[in-house]
């Protein structure tokens, strides 16, 4: 993966920085703001600040992470003063099964039901678990990134994801029978 990034971003240090940190920062802003536009604006502000700072790309990854997250939390705080904080996170799911090429109608129906069932099961999970599942599968974040977004310890978010998947798994097994 690292190699892949090198090929892509050989002479673009700020692109590498963006690629590495933007997804988690964006997930964080989405959680904090009322609109996707606001989250995009805040993300832009953080990386503009990084450009101003100038030398960020040359620092070690840990220092980059610490710097970017500190700026992000400040930007979010500024934003709340102006626009107000979002009170809920979008955890909605649409169980639409679009990719059904080569399937028999009965098979399609069964798959659709299975997917709807999974969505239902997710909706019944406690909110923190739903959130972790979303950050993992909807944002592609790692455990440490999820921990940054939720401002929790990594052990906590690992446990949340583990519990969520366990619940989903058992529901799957019941569903199969």
């Amino acid at each position: 993966m690292q190699q892949h990034a090198h090929v892509l971003l050989n002479d673009a240090p700020d692109a590498a920085l963006y690629q590495r940190f933007a997804p988690a920062l964006f997930a964080y802003f989405l959680k904090q703001t009322v609109s996707r536009e606001d989250a995009e604006d805040l993300l832009l502000e953080v990386f503009l600040a990084a450009l101003e700072q100038g030398k960020l790309a040359t620092l070690e990854e840990e220092k980059q992470r610490a710097w970017l997250w500190a700026v992000a939390r400040n930007k979010a705080a500024d934003h709340f003063r102006r626009r107000g904080r979002s009170t809920r996170v979008d955890l909605s799911l649409v169980a639409e099964f679009a990719d059904m090429e080569g399937m028999e109608p009965e098979q399609m129906l069964v798959r659709q039901e299975e997917l709807a069932h999974l969505a239902d099961t997710i909706r019944q999970l406690p909110t923190p678990q739903q959130h972790v599942v979303q950050l993992r599968f909807g944002h592609g974040l790692s455990h440490s990134e999820i921990a940054m977004v939720l401002h929790k310890r990594e052990g906590t978010t690992r446990m949340l994801l583990s519990r969520a998947l366990k619940a989903l798994r058992s529901s799957y097994q019941r569903n199969e029978r």
Partner: protein, 478 residues
Amino acid sequence: MSEANAPLPPEDTQTGHPLAQPAEEAQMLSDLERLYQPLVARNARSLEHVWVRLEQHKQQRRGGTRASRLPLAYPGLQTKEQSMQPFLSRFSQGGAWRRAMGTLVAVVVLTLLVGSMVAVFTLARGKTAIGPSITGTGPTATSAILPTPTERKPAHGLGTTVYTSPASYDDFYAFAWSPDSKRIAASTQSQVQIWDATTGKHPLTYTPKGGGGSVLALAWSPDGTKLAVGAVSSDGLEIINPATGKVIRTLNPTTALQTAGMGPEVSTVPLSGGSGVSAAAWSPDGKFIAAAFFGSAYGNKVVIWNIQTGALVTSFTKHTGEISSLAWSADGSYVASTSYDQTVQVWDAHNGKVIFSHSADQGGALAWSPTGTHLVFATDISAFQVWDVATNTQITSYQTQANASIAWSPDGKAIAVASNTDVILWDAATGTHIFTYTETGDYVRSLAWSPDGNYIVSGGNNEAGGNLAKVWNAAPLP
């Protein structure tokens, strides 16, 4: 090794639980991937959009070199698919949805190419290539030509909700009323939905040809026969027939400049993602259309065309940030524009000469009074002001949080402001509060007053999703 960029291996998501039934487990993980696919795609688009804006800032700082004319995608890459790759690569490779995405992108790229060729061809011929067509109209389109007569007199009091959009529409960036107040056009994510205003009947869906990006601009022509549609990642402003959903013509500022022989900056590079149209407005007589463009392919500019000939009248390039709102004065003389550069500018529609300028909220909203003498705009995050443009004097000021949308009632008496999760009606003359509509349920992104003054349509683009458009009585005002 950056953990962030690595797909989480199966045993990682297990966190200690053995893979008892690998097939079942794989099925569950793949189903989870499917369920979250729409969110993944939206997030990748957002990340790309921010990246493109970041690049624009960098290029502006460098002083707009020749390089800024190049299509601006993710570093070293050209196509949308590749540019989104860095953000999609976090997910397991070869998923079915990724294949679907690839196909979609291929279609989009092809459409872009073909679309821009058509636009060049159309403009070169100097006339409309595809007229409003009555052939091939489907059931919805046919019925849409003759909207069901609806009861126009509000049966209930101010603020009564008469229509709520279905949950399948979401994210309302813009609204436009037909001039007879019978139909509403709304941008819902990357599509345009048109319906009978108070009943939702005779729905018509239009998907912009330039593909994929949010539809930020909608404007219905004064004679009702055309709808201007502008999107992110579009290849120009699309003029469609709102009754059939057929494209009448596509107006592209790059080719227009070329055609009109204006400026040396002729781009032969196909336009890629990250550019688009952010606002559009018709002249009151319907003869001209103004559109605000952004992105590396265009720069931040407003372009005015003669809609009949496709000839470029003027282009306004004084904004240094993306233009968020555009409005034409009632007499057709002036265009007002506001931008992320934190200014509002009023300029002559014929030659682009600025006659009024003021600091403004970043990316704010504005509206003209129906008489065309007064302009209301957000001055900062918590206030907006009414100015007499000709005399350069401030008339009124309102302290309220201003979202990105504002409308002046057709009778001139009231101003509607989207404010956080409410729409607030203010007395335009005195600045006193008239009414607060609270049933939006979410952050209000856009609103529009019906030309007959009876209704307001408002809707949000809250990330929490489930945004609804509401049509509610906005008359009679006290």
